[in-house]
């Protein structure tokens, strides 16, 4: 990085540290913060969508759809997250490869499962083994996002379903009195008003999601925990920058990062709650009205 970094062994503490903190490995560490934020930025809306669809299915008048919604929420909520995180990406990957195998290699005669091996024809591999590394990483990241979204979507579905039933019945009755259909009343009256009831639960979920991102490491994505452990471990002089066990400092840094992230989101959720309370028949909405008057 800096021009004086050519021989770190000769450097004083301060320039040594400057060089050390700007190695390629540290750059990968800093970039992994982006990975985590990207995961959050993609997972949160997808999980919210899953939750919304789940909640809609649960209150559907069509029985099979209702069963599906209930089955999804109760099943996912009842299975340990870790088991689910390990199961979904592997099952998804093998399922997709098997499908592609069936479509693209119909003449293949060998079984897909040979003893311990899971073998599909070369052009059915996902991603193809000659795909560049970023495609492989993107694919792994994608399955991770999906696993997160499925799990957190189930919790969100429950929260949103609760919020939908919390909207005062009188609101819906008024909508019906105005001649709105069930569908119109749902989209125009229920959905806009339910968010304030869903918000506390959703903000809880968000905080849990933020704290669950180290699970990425479990799925083979090189996230901040992976790099902190890798960088913090003691290094002998095989490495350019030997140092003793520094994991404590790296993990302390992660601790601060997560605390800052959750603190910022706390403030954001506070503002959002204030905004959504406007005009609502809740205590917070009432307080806003009085303050304005």
């Amino acid at each position: 990085m800096f021009s004086f970094c050519t021989d770190p062994a000769l450097l004083d503490d301060l320039p040594w540290m400057a060089c050390y903190l700007t190695t390629g490995k540290h750059m990968a560490f800093y970039a992994s913060f982006g990975t985590v934020l990207l995961l959050l930025a993609i997972t949160a809306p997808v999980a919210l969508l899953f939750g919304f669809l789940g909640a809609m299915a649960t209150r559907s008048q069509i029985a099979p759809l209702r069963w599906l919604g209930r089955g999804y929420t109760s099943m996912v909520r009842g299975i340990p997250d870790i088991a689910f995180f390990l199961f979904v990406p592997i099952a998804l990957d093998q399922g997709l490869e098997w499908l592609r195998h069936k479509v693209r290699c119909p003449d293949w005669e060998l079984p897909v499962r040979q003893g311990n091996d899971f073998v599909v024809c070369d052009i059915a591999k996902l991603p193809l083994s000659n795909a560049p590394q970023w495609v492989h990483e993107g694919y792994g990241f994608g399955t991770a996002v999906l696993a997160f979204a499925v799990v957190f979507g189930a919790f969100a579905a429950n929260v949103i379903h609760g919020a939908m039933t919390a909207v005062p019945r009188a609101q819906m009755e008024t909508a019906e009195a105005y001649g709105m259909t069930r569908r119109q009343a749902f989209w125009r009256i229920l959905v806009p008003q339910m968010w304030i009831f869903a918000l506390p639960g959703l903000s809880n979920l968000w905080q849990i999601l933020v704290k669950a991102t180290p699970l990425l490491f479990l799925l083979g994505v090189e996230d901040i925990v992976y790099w902190a452990r890798e960088l913090g471990g003691s290094k002998t002089s095989t490495f350019t920058y030997p140092h003793p066990d520094w994991r404590l400092y790296y993990f302390l840094f992660l601790l601060v990062f997560y605390l800052a992230l959750t603190q910022v989101s706390e403030i954001a959720f506070g503002r959002l709650a204030r905004r959504l309370s406007r005009g609502q028949a809740t205590a917070a909405g009432d307080a806003l009205r009085k303050a304005a008057a």
Binding site: G24, K25, Q94, N116, D117, P127, S129, N130, T236, T238
Partner: protein, 239 residues
Amino acid sequence: MKTLTLATALLAFGTGAALAQDVVRMGTEGAYPPYNFINDNGEIDGFERELGDELCARAELTCEWVTNDWDSIIPNLVSGNYDTIIAGMSITPERDEVIDFTQPYTQPDPSSVVGMTPDLDLASAVIAAQTGTIQAGYVAEIGATLVEFASPDETVAAVRNGEVDAVIADKAFLEPIVTEDADLMYVGDDILLGGGIGMGIRESDAELKETFNAAIQSMKDDGTLNELIAKWLPESAPF
């Protein structure tokens, strides 16, 4: 309709370059110097990196390096996430039941025990080893108390902070650590475990195994393998 488009997109994904199938993905751990580690530039480095690149050049294969946790390194090989394991993995009968190995590219590697005091009774000691290694199996065999860790670095850290009495690992890994830390020392003699280190390959992939066998043999024949061993693993016996 949307799902249909998605399915088509998935199927079409990567149709372009379906012919160039000679990319071999090399799976390693990246946490076990000097065999394999991530250097300060963030690249995979070490004995096996140099060896693997040379083997691929000789076999005229394009190789791509990937890192994977030690714990799941065999499951991810058999499910096809990469094509070889080249991660300081000793050839043992138990592993051989699940995957195949090429011929060894090191002699049976000496393992050593490192602790804080030289007079340690191993049979009654608490010894750290990495999960799923031959050394962990050995500790269980001699009746000592085994404490397992997910990564090699953690096993050494456990000795330093007094959580265990000693650590057992390949000598080539422990040697620089003992040299540079005055508190740590060898306990007892070296122990020879396993049948040498080989590359792990899926059992259904006999062709790839033969390719690498031939490449390893050619490096053994012209002495380049011994040069690499002398450079990275000075404690190991040459061929």
